[in-house]
Each structure stands twice: as C-alpha cells, then as structure tokens.
C-alpha cells in the first residue's frame, strides 16, 4: 500500500520542517490528486448546470453527474441507480429519512438507536420521539464495546418503527453484524425500518446493501477520499416512493400548478435545487480510485495497521484502549486515554510533532457517558496510514507521559 502515498498531495506538506502524521481519517479523509483534478476539471471545462441546458457542456455535466450516481450504485451494490440520492452528507441523509418517517410516528410506537451512535444518528431520532409519546429506546453495549445482541428481543418490540444503527462505531471501532441484526429485527417487528449509518464502513470495506438487507444506508463522500459537501442516501425503491420530500424547489418537480404540485420520481424527488455537481463528480472519481486499489485490500491494510497499533499501544503503561480487543472485530479507529492526562493535552503535545489525532467525545456523548468518560483521544487510519505513522504516535504518547504525568 506504500505506493499510494504519492497520490496524496497533503502528505508532501511539512509544517515547521516536519511531515504531517495524519491519524484523523474517521473525521475526514485526505484527497488524492485525481479527485482534486476531477473537480477542477468540471469547474474549468464544463461548469454548466445539470438536467437543463440543451447544449454540449450542460449535457457533459449531466452525464458526469449521473455517471457518478452509477458509480455509487455499483460501489454499494444497489439494485437500481435510482435508489442513490445525493445529499450534503451522512447528517443530511439521516435527517431526510427521519423527517419523512417522523411524520408517520404515532403514540405507542418506539424508535431504537444504539448507545454507540454518532450524534447525527441519535439526535434526529430522539427529537422525533420527544413530545409525541413515542418511546426512544437504547440498545446497549457490553464491556468489550460490542452490542448486547441478546437484548434485541427485549429492546425491539412489535411497535418498533425504526432501528437506527451504525455499521462501524466512530469511537470504539466495533463492526456491527448488520446482516444478522436486520434478520433478527425482521423476525420481531416485520415493519421496522432499519437505517444504517455507514459513514465509517463504506470508505473502509466492501459494503453490499442487498446482503445487509437494511432499508436505508447513508454515508459521506469526504470520509472516502471525496470532497466535503457530498453524501449519499440509499433506500429501497418502494420506500423512497412513499417517503415525503425533504425540501421543495427546482430539479424535483414534474408539474406545478397554482393548486398542486407533482414531484418527480426518486432520486430527483429528493434533490431540490442545483446539486453539488463538482462534489458528485469528485466522489465518483474517489470511487474509481478505491476500486483501483480494491476494497478488500483497503480493509486488509487497515486491519494490519490496527493490529500493529493495538500491539504497540499495549506496551504503554497507563494507557487504556476502548472497544473490541482484536483488529478482526474493529475498523481502523482506536480511542484511548492516558492515566491522569487530559485528552486535550495529549492532542496538543502530539500536535507539536504534527501528529493529527482527535480529542473530545467525537460526537458520541451518550457513549462517553456510558463509559464514564468525558473525552478520549482517537487515532484513525486509512489506506495511506503507515507503520511509521503509528511509530510516531507511540513515540508521541511516550513524550506526553514524560511531560505531563504527575
């Protein structure tokens, strides 16, 4: 995987003469030159609007935009390209679904989320339940950071309308067995909709939405080598047809009359206004790049790096790692604490050597409360992460201990 480094311009940059050790890919990934070029090319050569002009560059833009949709569909094995809706990102995708489903919730229903959800797959559901006499239920984790799947039978009931669940925890790294969970849920509550936050999964491993069997799957472009401001909602055709539009405007209209409006079919029904054309094209190029590497290879590399990191970190006294014990069970995310040292101080000291990690609750405050923590430090990896990066992290953490241990 070493030869991918040259494709990422940011990794050539130095700050104070030192290279950048980027270990925050769970927040956002770096961008390869090809993705930067693809956006640049759109803006320079054919930056027309889509689905409108009967002139060459508009048709070129439309083709590139729709081609990106096809690439996304292929990448996640969607049965139909019309099931791919471009959004601003994971957050907007979830809000779109939650707004539509929220209207249909009635007193006595319940919605279920897991304790390890990112705020963006927690709060939209919590807020739909509040004040409607709809119960907001939590699926908890065990001491190894895995979901208590034995509790599914009690947490999910026949009145469960939604299960909102992450495929990979952005803190613990836990990989949830979505396929098995969906099967169990269908058995208990056949009409329960399963919404999968795949923001930490699609960039890092093979995802097949049909194998999962969920109803909606959402993810962001910027965490998978693509631009910011572009994301995806995948949903089953019949559900997308039922779901209420999220926003109204141009592009999503079939007919407007003074007294009524007829919307286009999905995906246009959910893409009001001029979309992020350059972003979609960039995302399509990111998918090309990932496919040229092969998602199995991406996963294998991250598993190797994660295993190496777990081993190296376990040698540091006073360092606590959260989540599953083995790389097999986790994505390339490791949250940790160092005894008696505040996570912000760790991040600040590491920054002196350009080591980029995240400190805080990583938009997962309910999980941190559950763990009895206010904050953790998180290192996260991608296909460009090297053993040298991990060695720098380990050295940096030793420096933190020397400097700040009391």
């Amino acid at each position: 995987m070493a030869d991918v480094i040259k494709d990422f311009p940011l990794l050539k940059r130095k700050i104070n003469g030192k290279p950048i050790v980027y270990l925050d890919s769970a927040a956002t990934s770096l961008k390869p030159q090809s993705v930067i070029d693809a956006q640049d090319d759109y803006y320079r050569r054919y930056s027309a609007n889509v689905h409108r002009g009967i002139y060459a560059i508009s048709e070129e833009a439309t083709e590139a935009y729709e081609n990106a949709r096809k690439k996304v569909a292929g990448f996640i094995h969607a049965p139909s390209v019309n099931e791919i809706i471009f959004t601003r990102g994971t957050t907007e995708s979830i809000n779109l679904v939650a707004a539509g489903i929220g209207k249909t919730l009635i007193a006595g229903d319940n919605v279920v989320v897991t304790i390890m959800e990112h705020h963006s797959n927690f709060v939209p559901w919590q807020q739909r339940a509040v004040g409607k006499n709809v119960e907001f239920r939590i699926l908890n984790i065990d001491k190894n950071g895995k979901l208590n799947l034995n509790d599914l039978d009690t947490v999910i009931t026949r009145r469960t309308r939604v299960l909102a669940i992450t495929a990979v925890s952005n803190v613990l790294g836990t990989i949830n067995p979505i396929r098995d969970i969906v099967k169990s849920v269908r058995r208990i509550s056949p009409h329960c909709l399963v919404v999968v936050d795949a923001a930490q999964a699609v960039p890092h491993m093979v995802v097949d939405v049909q194998t999962w069997g969920a109803d909606f799957v959402v993810f962001s472009g910027h965490k998978m080598l693509g631009p910011t401001g572009i994301g995806v909602l995948w949903g089953k055709t019949e559900l997308l047809e039922q779901l209420h539009p999220y926003q109204y405007g141009g592009e999503m209209i079939a007919e407007v009359h003074v007294d009524r409006t007829i919307f286009k079919k999905p995906p246009q029904k959910f893409e009001a206004g001029t979309p992020h054309i350059a972003g979609a094209i960039g995302l399509g190029t990111a998918i090309d790049y990932l496919q040229s590497i092969g998602m199995d290879n991406v996963r294998a590399h991250e598993k190797e790096i994660t295993g190496y990191t777990l081993k190296q970190l376990s040698a540091i006294v006073g360092l606590q790692i959260y989540g599953p014990k083995t790389a097999e069970d986790r994505g390339g995310v490791i949250a940790l604490t160092v005894k008696d040292v505040h996570p912000h101080d760790i991040a600040q000291v590491l920054n002196e050597d350009n080591i980029c990690i995240r400190a805080g609750n990583h938009c997962a405050m309910p999980l941190h409360e559950h763990l009895g923590l206010v904050a953790t430090v998180r290192a996260s990896f991608y296909l460009y992460t090297t053993r040298e990066d991990i060695d720098a992290l380990v050295e940096g953490l030793e420096k933190v201990k020397r400097l700040l241990s009391k």
Binding site: G360, L403, L404
Partner: protein, 126 residues
Amino acid sequence: MDLYRDLILDHYRNPRNFGHLDKPDVAVEDHNVSCGDRMVMEIKFKVKSLKSKAAIEDIRFSGEGCAISQASASMLTEKAKTLAAEKILVLTLEDIVEMLGTTLTPSRVKCALLPLEVLQKAMIKV
C-alpha cells in the same frame, strides 16, 4: 510555540491554592462541557466590599481539567489574592495570556479562560 513551558508545567504538577476552604463565603462551579472540564472556586473575603483593596482573604480551586485550565487556575488564584475585587472583575483574556506567558491557539482559549469566568462569577455573587 511552546505551550507546556516550565512555569505552566510547574503550576500543573504543583497547583497552588488547590482544595477546599472550611467555611467559604462563596463557592461557584462551572463547566466546559465540550472538554469535560469542571472548575470550582471557593472564596473567603476580608471585607465584603468591591472597594476593598485586597478583597480576598483566601481562595481555593478544585475540579478536573487539562494542564492549561489547571495551571491557569493555579496562577490566577495567586494573582487574585493581590488584587482588589474591582480589578479582578475587569481582567480579560489578554491578562490571562500574559499571566501564562504563552500564546494560545483558538481551541485552547476556553480552557485558559474557565478559571477567570468562574472567579468573576464568584466575585459578583458577593
């Protein structure tokens, strides 16, 4: 920039005025929710008047936080003992930065300021 200078590390490792007072006139607690920092200030006053030249007889702080917030609290409580209440109330971020003897990146400003905010809240409670 060297944020973790010897002076700051010294106050972090050996905080001055850390702990509790027997019968404080006032005790105020506040948090930086995003950092998970918690800061408590307990004060005993000499004379309960803002015009008094050295209003604070004794002061203690407690709580949890990063090295910056802890060192800032330690140094601020020392400084506060020498100042009139009215002077304490007009202290600003600039004074805290000067006291710490370093520069702060935007993300660390709220860490350094938490002790001052708690202290000023306590002072106006008198």
